[in-house]
Amino acid sequence: MHRSKLKMFGKLYMKDLHEVTAEILVVIIGIVLVTTGFMLKSDVPAPVFIFPLLLLLGLAGFLPLIASFKLLSREWSQNTVYLIMSLPVSGVMILGAKMMVLLTQYIIGTGLIALSGYLLYTTNLYQYITPNQPGLSILFNNPELVRNLLAFYLCGLIFLMFLCSTSFFSQVTGKLSSRFSGLITAITFIITLVLSGKILTAFKISSITDNSRAMQMMGSADNFVNSLNFSSLSYLLLAIVIFILAVMIYDRKLEL
């Protein structure tokens, strides 16, 4: 009887998801605390609560990158790599499940923060900020801005994929050597980022992390979205290439 690849992927995904539960919970607890705090203390100025929410947003975006190192390196430090590498599946499935978990972590974290913002807007925050400040009402009355933000969010997701691919690639490269593995990983990570930057610059592609330019372009929605699409596509291609390289090293070169 043949085993379903989807089921195998599901098992790997659930196993890896368990490994990042703590990080996801940290973000969720933070969101709950901030949201509850605001709901209970509506006399506090809105920025006091918006600021921690923005901090949490940064945390939710950054934690998956940290987790990408943890997810893979833990397999070695806990010797579970013996189990994983013995499985009758290729590196695409092993690393693909980890990538999917990291994207899930990002989406859960940022999604909940967006939901929290919406809840605050529709309840206490709305009555507090709408009289004198435009606040979130701009967002809800401006579909173009919503489109821009969604495009920006998608870019963030793709940029995370790029960073996680780079993380996987640098880690499997580091594991090719039994000595100075951590150092090789760090150097490979930096070199890959620098090289990727140079490749994108060579093709005159603007970085999606260039916030100042992004903000300038906010006024012109089409330009902004097109630029993001182009940049996203470039980063997506790079992420795929680096991911394939990581898989090739995992499948063909990695030894225990």
Binding site: K7, M8, G10, N79, S86, P88, D251, E255, L256
Partner: protein, 234 residues
């Protein structure tokens, strides 16, 4: 059949395997014996596809080990299961990946080894973990079962249970079981064929009973003699 064809492997200054030639015939219980650092684990990991030869090649039924992973059940010496898993979660995981997983055998061995499915792997004793690892490997009807030091650090009673497990329901002619260990006396009566390995080379090999009869010695004594001779020649 598993074949090693002039396989060499070096880790830094250590020659783990040196032009190793051997064949593991199907349907046998094979002992791969030798002292610590002899190259047993390297050979086992190579069959499991976790290590690759610097030179030479290994074939499992004519295919590379990495292509044969679904036909190999490997029990490494170290603890390789997730500590947060319960035995049930571990079994569910294995069941999803291997079509040769045998649920009835799993249930039978669960009782025989006196294990409970809700045991958390990270919280149980070393002996129980060894039994869990063995259970997850032997519950598969894999053509090749590789056991790397399955008795290492295990108390006498648990050893006896593990050996009895291996004796239980072994399907003669179907499964090949390769046991790598330096604790020969425990598995002396279990193995059909033996390979004594030292410094990455086979020093003595043959059918276990034949070796014992012709030399009039136990396998432990044969190994001691073989390694003394190998050291003299070196």
């Amino acid at each position: 059949m598993i074949e090693f064809d002039h396989v060499s492997k070096r880790f830094g200054s250590i020659q783990a395997l040196d032009q190793l030639n051997l064949q593991f015939k199907p349907g046998k219980i094979i002992g791969l014996f030798g002292p610590n650092g002899a190259g047993k684990s390297t050979a086992m990991k190579m069959i499991a596809g976790l290590n690759q030869p610097d030179r030479g090649r290994i074939l499992v039924d004519g295919q590379s080990p990495r292509q044969s992973r679904d036909r190999i059940a490997f029990l490494p010496e170290i603890d390789h299961l997730y500590g947060w898993w319960t035995l049930k979660q571990a079994a569910d995981f294995m069941r999803s990946f291997y079509s040769d997983w045998d649920d009835s055998r799993y249930r039978q061995l669960l009782d025989f080894l006196n294990l409970q499915e809700d045991m958390k792997i990270g919280k149980i004793s070393k002996g129980q973990r060894a039994k869990c690892k063995l259970l997850l490997v032997v519950a598969r009807r894999a053509p090749y079962i590789l056991l790397d030091e399955p008795l290492s650090g295990i108390d006498i009673l648990t050893r006896e249970i593990i050996i009895n497990t291996l004796n239980l329901d072994l399907r003669e002619g179907e499964q090949t079981i390769i046991i790598s260990t330096h604790e020969i006396d425990d598995v002396e009566n279990l193995v059909d064929e033996v390979f004594f390995i030292d410094q990455g080379r086979i020093v003595v090999s043959g059918a276990a009973e034949e070796l014992k009869t012709t030399r009039g010695m136990s396998l432990v004594e044969i190994m001691k003699e073989a390694f003394r001779n190998a050291q003299k020649q070196a």
